[in-house]
């Protein structure tokens, strides 16, 4: 069975930005075969661990688009914004780090849910909850496709 990793990232104190970590918490129970990471931001230190997997799904919140909707995008290990990686690394850059430094990068998707509120508070908006439900519904299917 392909080794699968789901990484949900975002700030749990900024409303719908918590989509990624909240999705990971819910999916843990639904996808016992996968491994999970929940974090504030992606850092280069994740690259080595990422390289050990065959498939990966990054789950993030987005602020562009129709609130409540979800998008999935195939990622390739080709960088992205890379001038500074001290605070945050784009998932594509993280894949490139994994591939270049540790010899392997998993097949990967970026799944984003569009949020409605990113103010200083805990908890999702109604549209954020819709996106969360959709991400959790789609994630097992997407992982199955990615694993083929």
């Amino acid at each position: 069975m392909p080794r699968a990793l789901l990484i949900g990232y975002g700030n749990t104190l900024r409303g719908d930005d918590a989509l990624g970590p909240m999705a990971v918490e819910r999916l843990r129970a639904l996808m016992p075969q996968a491994e999970f990471i929940s974090c504030h931001q992606l850092g280069p230190e994740l690259a080595e661990r990422l390289a050990a997997f065959d498939c990966a799904i990054f789950i993030d919140a987005a602020c562009d688009g129709e609130p409540g909707t979800v998008q999935a995008m195939r990622l390739s290990p080709t960088g992205g914004e890379t001038s500074s990686i001290t605070h945050h690394v784009h998932p594509g850059a993280l894949l490139e780090l994994a591939h270049t430094l540790y010899g392997s990068a998993p097949r990967a998707l970026l799944v984003t849910g569009v949020g409605a509120s990113f103010e200083n508070h805990e908890g999702l908006s109604e549209k954020g909850r819709e996106a969360l439900d959709e991400i959790c519904r789609l994630a097992p299917e997407l992982l199955a496709e990615l694993s083929l």
């Binding site: 280069p44 080595e48 500074s84 001290t86 605070h87 490139e96 780090l97 270049t100 430094l101």
Partner: protein
């Protein structure tokens, strides 16, 4: 007069701008380092219970939360007038060492190594950490591994890598477990191997950077760092000492009760970063530096075997104190080595697994000061409380503030050396940025800046017309 603006300076923690003034002949007449935004933690903590301060102050920064957590907790210890248990003090020292390791590794490998490996004049599209990853993957792997080691220690002890909450007024919240200690110890040989390798490599590169050594904030100044009776490297306990460029002690045994007699703070019209100075000499002559260079100039020995060997070699660079700020990078690597060795020693001490790790008390003083050596230099937290234990006022002096005058002098020195024409060139601009980078300023800590601005450098003629512009 013309002005060149570098906005923002890249590969530093936080956001700042440099302006360079040219005279009618196009020669550099002045240069200034500006920090452009403010966060104001001194003000927003007023009215909060003093017990909240460590957790609140840790939010000042995502890179150095542990340093603020420690300084804040020490200030709270002072307010409670407690002597924390021996085990707790050692555990706090380990946290501080881990913070030094991860922060220095970030500065050297992530932020500055592109300049060393790819060259000061390299295309900025390539001269970044991904350029290092592509051309020097082993160096990149080592950098990631070393920073990861420091972060893992912070996470093991503090529960999480960023904003750990384990350090509390009176000590730490829970003891270290034997398996946690063993897990850290198991990683130490690899961390030492990487650090020694980086030191060997960097020493071999210095000759290629003679021009930078000569001009990167290379001038006599005072140095401030923590000192102790043994004159060994000290990052957690001790008092403050000023030395001059000839290593003479200028002021000694400065503590939380009298630091304000020696350290003055000056506001600037063009920057949110205050400038501190040695008060007895005044703002004009009281320039001093803090951080790795100051600490290695200050101590007579590191106190660990391998770091002492490296320190002896470092001392041979100059007759008295090492003055070039380019050597901050070198000093950082030696401090990483020291920190790993000292951490290993502490972890092998029997009482490190002791269960008594916290002293409890109500406020016994209306005032408390916490001082320690953060990775970038001396960090001071000073609180006053009312009779209900609520913060009345807070004063924080952070390493980047201590270094502000020196950074400004350094920017001017580098601009004079490298800015030669009215045509902007990347290598010239990068060197101006690189001298700032040598100090590893953390602007989120020192003024609480936020936001990311594009780089916009403008060369403006005396009549106000733009001669040249560069953006990234």
């Amino acid at each position: 007069m013309s002005t060149i603006t570098i906005d923002p300076i890249t590969r530093i923690e936080g956001h700042a701008r440099v302006t360079i003034q040219l005279d009618e002949q196009g020669e550099v007449q002045g240069a200034r380092f500006h920090v452009t935004q403010v966060r104001g933690f001194e003000k927003l903590c007023e009215g909060r219970p003093f017990t909240e301060m460590p957790a609140l102050m840790a939010r000042i920064c995502g890179i150095c939360p542990t340093s603020h957590l420690l300084a804040s907790s020490k200030a709270c210890d002072d307010i409670m007038a407690v002597r924390i248990p021996e085990t707790a003090e050692k555990l706090r020292r380990i946290m501080n060492l881990a913070q030094i390791i991860q922060s220095h590794a970030l500065s050297f490998f992530y932020l500055s190594s592109p300049d060393f490996l790819l060259g000061m004049d390299a295309d900025p599209e390539e001269r970044n950490i991904m350029g290092v990853v592509r051309k020097y993957p082993q160096m990149a792997r080592d950098g990631i591994k070393l920073r990861q080691f420091g972060q893992r220690v912070l996470e093991t002890l503090g529960g999480k890598r960023v904003h750990p909450g384990w350090i509390v007024p009176g000590g730490v919240s829970h003891p270290l477990q034997a398996e946690q200690r063993d897990q850290i110890l198991a990683e130490i040989p690899e961390a030492i191997r990487i650090t020694r390798g980086a030191l060997q490599w960097f020493k071999g590169q210095i000759e290629s950077f003679r021009a930078e050594v000569r001009s990167f904030a290379n001038f006599p100044s005072l140095f401030l760092a923590m000192a102790n009776d043994s004159n060994e490297f000290s990052a957690y306990n001790g008092w403050l000492r000023f030395i001059d460029a000839n290593l003479n002690i200028v002021a000694d045994h400065i503590t939380g009760t009298d630091y304000l007699n020696y350290i003055g703070e000056s506001c600037n019209d063009d920057s949110y970063l205050k400038s501190t100075y040695f008060k007895p000499l005044g703002l004009a002559d009281g320039i001093y530096r803090v951080g790795p260079l100051a600490r290695l100039n200050m101590c007579q020995s590191a106190g660990t075997m391998q770091a002492d060997e490296e320190l002896a070699e470092f001392r041979e660079l100059e007759r008295h104190s090492v003055l070039s700020s380019f050597y901050y990078h070198y000093a950082r690597l030696i401090e990483i080595l020291f920190s790993i060795e000292r951490m290993e020693t502490l972890l092998h001490e029997a009482e490190i697994l002791g269960k008594n790790v916290r002293a409890h008390a109500s406020p016994n003083n209306f005032e408390g000061v916490g001082i320690l050596e953060a990775p970038r230099g001396t960090l001071i937290h000073h609180y006053r409380i009312d009779q209900n234990g609520l913060i009345e006022s807070a004063n924080m002096i952070i390493a980047t503030g201590h270094n502000n005058l020196a950074i400004n002098h350094g920017v001017f020195q580098v601009a004079r050396q490298f800015v030669k024409s009215q045509k902007l060139e990347q290598g010239m601009l990068n060197r101006v940025e690189a001298v700032v980078r040598a100090f590893d300023p953390c602007l989120s800590c020192s003024t609480h800046a936020a936001g990311m601005m594009p780089l916009d450098i403008q060369l403006i003629a005396a009549d106000g017309t733009m001669i040249d512009r560069m953006r990234r």
